[in-house]
């Protein structure tokens, strides 16, 4: 018995420390990343949840935290801060009702198509219900606050930045990428130049655009004055101020769309394009039938990345307008920051959580219903 054991040990060398370590190598390699994310994402998220559910007050020698349930959220959605977060609702006209009805019909149609499609799962239904109800809520709030007598709050302002900004940046980036993919001389110069705005710090962009848009001392002042509107200032009107934020954001982020889409266009099957051209296909046909299907998955992913980042906007509105005039340009992150500065930690965390909820649902919905189908298009 003992002899047998001895020979066994002799013939199969005992695993050394290195080998045993190697068996756990995968886990050890992931561990640092997991620890870092636990410390800086999960742990803060839990504390933030606690802050969002309590009232913070400075007290002699420190501070007190009192658990108050959901009343921070209630304050934002229906209480004293409703005007700030959701906005002031205007009266619904026939056009507004039409828009709401249209959105409702579209959402119901999507839901019905899914239910009749056969492959229905519990997770699918719950996910779709969340997505549909959030979309409907956002449409209602947007329509109500953008109506003539309404004033949009930070939620709608953030949505405006995200939806308009990302759409414009995508279209501009795609257009420029198509132009740069043409067989012309100097395209390398243009592609390097167009890439530059992405490198500039957003705070710097905000100040630069303030200088440029100065109606008295800016470079365009003489032109503006010749139109006789020299006394007017973009910063005093809600829509022109929002437009300025969007212009700065577009200047910075169009290059991102451009650079990735250009790389994707140059990766498309060249022989197919050439064959189509010899057969006499028009540029539009080539784009629709060859280029677009080839770049659709990449397009879906860059828009998703931009969506994720666009929800976090703060630098531009904070420096460009300080959130003004009134609340016109205040994004949700800026709202949370201002609440923090006024020592209202509960409200700040609650706004942060609302932002987290909205952006997560929007991004996951976009991923499931746009990015995934676009990948199937390719294969």
């Amino acid at each position: 018995m003992t002899a047998f054991a001895d020979t066994a040990i002799d013939s199969v060398p005992r695993p050394g420390l290195g080998e045993r370590l190697d068996r756990y190598a995968g886990r050890l390699m992931v561990l640092p990343a997991v620890i870092i994310l636990l410390c800086f994402a999960i742990f803060p998220l839990i504390i933030s949840a606690y802050l969002a559910l309590s009232r913070f007050a400075l007290a002699p020698g420190g501070f007190t935290l009192k658990f108050i349930g959901l009343s921070n959220f209630r304050k934002l959605l229906s209480g004293s801060q409703q005007y700030h977060f959701l906005g002031t609702f205007g009266a619904f006209g026939p056009a507004a009702w039409g828009l709401v009805a249209l959105a409702a019909i579209a959402l119901l149609y999507c839901m019905a198509r899914y239910l009749r499609g056969g492959s229905v799962t519990a997770v699918g239904i719950v996910g779709r219900l969340i997505a549909v109800s959030l979309t409907m809520g956002l449409v209602l709030v947007s329509v109500a606050t953008l109506a003539t007598s309404g004033v949009p709050g930070t939620l709608v302002t953030t949505l405006l930045y995200v939806v308009i900004g990302v759409t414009v940046q995508f279209l501009l980036g795609l257009g420029l990428a198509l132009l740069c993919a043409q067989p012309i001389r100097g395209r390398n110069f243009f592609r390097v130049l167009y890439f530059v705005p992405l490198m500039v710090t957003p705070v710097g962009i905000a100040y630069t655009f303030r200088m440029l848009a100065d109606m008295q001392k800016g470079p365009f002042a003489p032109i503006v004055r010749s139109f006789g509107v020299g006394e007017w200032s973009w910063a005093t009107e809600a829509w022109s101020a929002r437009l300025m934020v969007l212009v700065g954001d577009t200047w910075q982020w169009t290059p991102f769309m451009f650079i990735v889409l250009l790389a994707a266009i140059e990766n498309q099957p060249r022989d197919q394009v050439e064959a189509a051209r010899i057969d006499g296909a028009s540029s539009l046909q080539i784009f629709r039938d060859i280029t677009w299907p080839a770049i659709a998955p990449v397009a879906g992913t860059v828009v998703l990345i931009r969506l994720i980042e666009a929800f976090k906007i703060i630098d531009l509105p904070n420096v460009l307008t300080g959130g003004g005039p009134g609340l016109a340009t205040e994004s949700m992150t800026l709202h949370a920051f201002i609440a923090w500065r006024t020592q209202d930690l509960g409200a700040s965390a609650a706004v942060g959580y609302m932002l987290l909820f909205v952006s997560t649902v929007v991004c996951i919905t976009f991923f499931n219903f746009v990015v995934r189908p676009s990948r199937r298009l390719e294969s």
């Binding site: 800086f40 705070v203 051209r277 703060i314 987290l356």
Partner: protein, 348 residues
């Protein structure tokens, strides 16, 4: 064949050969490209010349061309670089950006490699136990006033006990795809949600307003991007080389550092630059976590809006010195970055 006459319309609108453009579309293309080039250049040009202006040149302006309608002066440069303490924030920015990028790339690449090349499994019960204990610890510290070392210690003991007894038998487990999704999805979280607790955490550790706090936070924020990009680089290299090295007795770590990493060099460069730029330009976290000591450049720039109104010329100097190095790097390595992003965007 070559004598075939082309009508004027054909000569203007239809290309002679496939790799050339006809004159009219060509002019339109150039026109649009130059138009956008101007949109890119005008703001940069204006910042550059404003940095050479004095207060009078701005107040009586606008003036457009140095030496023609105003005399450039180095007054603002002298003031910001020699008399004012700009060097401090600049060094802070360099340290925070470089340090955090190195940490994020090393940690992220290790994790991405493990996710691609090894089989990982975490029991769902373990995760739930962990979250439950974490929440309980926080509740105990915050509302019951238990000192945090005691709460943390007992939670760790309980967790280890639970792992070796209860969760061993659980069936449901999370695999590589789930872990990867979790890591990458952390990027969706807006930093404003996490920044208050991070602030409190560093305050407790007495690390508020230090470079270390910035390095750690930036590394954490950018880690998901590194994992997302490098994952695809590792997945794209053939597995044979690594396998034969492993048969020869090399450990996983050795294979990672000596074989896998060198193979994805160019992808790593792209990832490194992208993360470096993000960290270099970061504003919100620096605004919360720094004060006088560890202030970074974006915060310094935004602080130039003084009570006497914005000092445009000083601000422009800061913007120029901030964007010059990244623009230089990006110009040289633009192709790398584009390719790196494309690989990430294709596989997602």
């Amino acid at each position: 064949m070559s004598t075939e006459r082309r009508t004027l319309r054909q000569r203007l609108f239809e290309p002679e050969s496939l790799d050339r453009q006809a004159p009219v579309p060509k002019i339109a293309t150039y026109g649009l490209l130059i138009f956008w080039a101007l949109i890119v250049l005008i703001p940069l040009y204006w910042v550059l010349i404003t940095s050479f202006k004095q207060s009078g040149d701005v107040a009586n302006g606008p003036f457009y061309i140095p030496f023609v309608d105003f005399t450039p002066s180095l007054h603002a440069w002298d003031f910001m670089l020699l008399q004012n303490n700009t060097l401090g924030p600049y060094i802070n920015s360099v340290v925070a950006a470089l340090g955090s990028t190195v940490v994020a790339v090393v940690v992220g690449a290790l994790a991405a490699y493990a996710l691609v090349r090894t089989r990982l499994e975490v029991k769902l019960a373990t995760v739930l136990t962990f979250l439950l204990l974490l929440a309980a610890t926080i509740a105990a510290v915050v509302s019951l006033g238990v000192p945090w070392p005691i709460a943390l210690g007992s939670a760790v003991v309980l967790f280890i006990l639970a792992v070796f007894t209860l969760t061993h038998r659980a069936r449901l487990a999370l695999g590589n795809r789930d872990i990867e999704f979790w890591i990458i999805s952390n990027r969706i979280m807006p930093p404003i949600v996490a920044v208050l607790p991070i602030y409190i955490m560093f305050q407790q550790l007495r690390l508020l307003d230090t470079q270390l706090a910035l390095v750690a936070t930036y590394a954490a924020v950018n880690l998901p991007i590194v994992v997302w990009l490098t994952r695809d680089f590792f997945a794209a290299i053939p597995v044979d080389l690594e396998e034969s090295a492993e048969i020869d007795g090399a450990s996983k770590f050795r294979v990672f550092f000596t074989i896998a990493l060198p193979l994805v060099r160019s992808g790593l460069v792209a990832t490194f630059l992208l993360v470096l730029i993000l960290a270099w330009n970061e504003y919100l976290l620096a605004l919360f976590l720094t004060n006088a000591n560890a202030q970074t450049m974006p915060v310094l720039v935004s602080a130039q809006n003084t009570t006497r109104g914005p000092q445009w010329w000083n601000m422009s100097v800061l913007i120029v010195v901030m964007i010059a190095p990244v623009v230089a790097i990006a110009t040289v390595l633009q192709k790398h970055i584009a390719r790196g992003l494309l690989v990430g965007a294709v596989k997602g």
